[in-house]
């Protein structure tokens, strides 16, 4: 078992988990009933999927600086994603969009 083999299989497993979360995020976006619940799916599942993909790529990266850059990109996506999510939820709430509840339907 060389490092290449371990990194290859490990990153493949991480890619599978990441792809699963991307898939779950898209399914949530399609299936969930209203804007707020869809925002949940979008921010959580997709940021996590990107995190797994980035970790998998980091295992294969050729230098440390690339690893740090990959995680910097992930950090930027997390921060901008959470901020954009708050902005959309805030605007939706401010315009009087009521959340979907189980009792109403």
């Amino acid at each position: 078992m060389t490092w290449e083999t371990i990194a290859g299989w490990g990153s493949t497993a991480l890619f599978a988990v990441g792809a699963f979360f991307f898939f779950a995020g898209s399914v949530g976006l399609v299936r969930f009933p209203d804007v707020y619940t869809r925002l949940h799916a979008l921010t959580k599942a997709d940021n996590l999927g990107l995190g797994f993909v980035v970790t998998g790529l980091a295992l294969r990266a050729e230098s440390w600086i690339v690893v740090l850059k990959l995680y910097l990109i992930w950090l930027i996506v997390i921060v901008t994603g959470a901020t954009a999510c708050y902005l959309v939820a805030n605007a939706a709430r401010g315009s009087g969009l009521e959340p979907w509840t189980r009792e109403r339907r």
């Binding site: 792809a19 399609v30 804007v35 979008l42 790529l57 954009a84 805030n90």
Partner: protein
């Protein structure tokens, strides 16, 4: 081991195409905007994966551009176009 990367690229592409359904359906403009946000995150992942497959390091800079653009589009949607989605 590039096969894993290629399969990952195909899967992300397929999930992104799934999200287009949400633009077709709506019902509000906000829902449509959400799928644009989804493509921001998936676009970053896709670009990073393609950077690894092709070995072009400059594509990682493009992933940064994608990350920042997602924020730009959502902010301009919320600040400038809110309530205009029925047009």
């Amino acid at each position: 081991m590039t096969l894993a990367l290629e399969v990952l690229a195909v899967v992300i592409m397929a999930t992104v195409s799934l999200g287009i359904y949400r633009i077709e359906r709506g019902p509000t403009g906000t829902d449509r905007m959400l799928s644009a946000m989804l493509f921001g995150t998936s676009g970053v992942a896709l670009t990073l994966v393609l950077a690894e497959i092709t070995g072009i390091g400059a594509l990682r800079d493009m992933a940064l551009v994608f990350a920042l653009l997602g924020a730009l589009t959502s902010v301009s949607f919320v600040k400038r176009a809110w309530g205009a989605e029925d047009r």
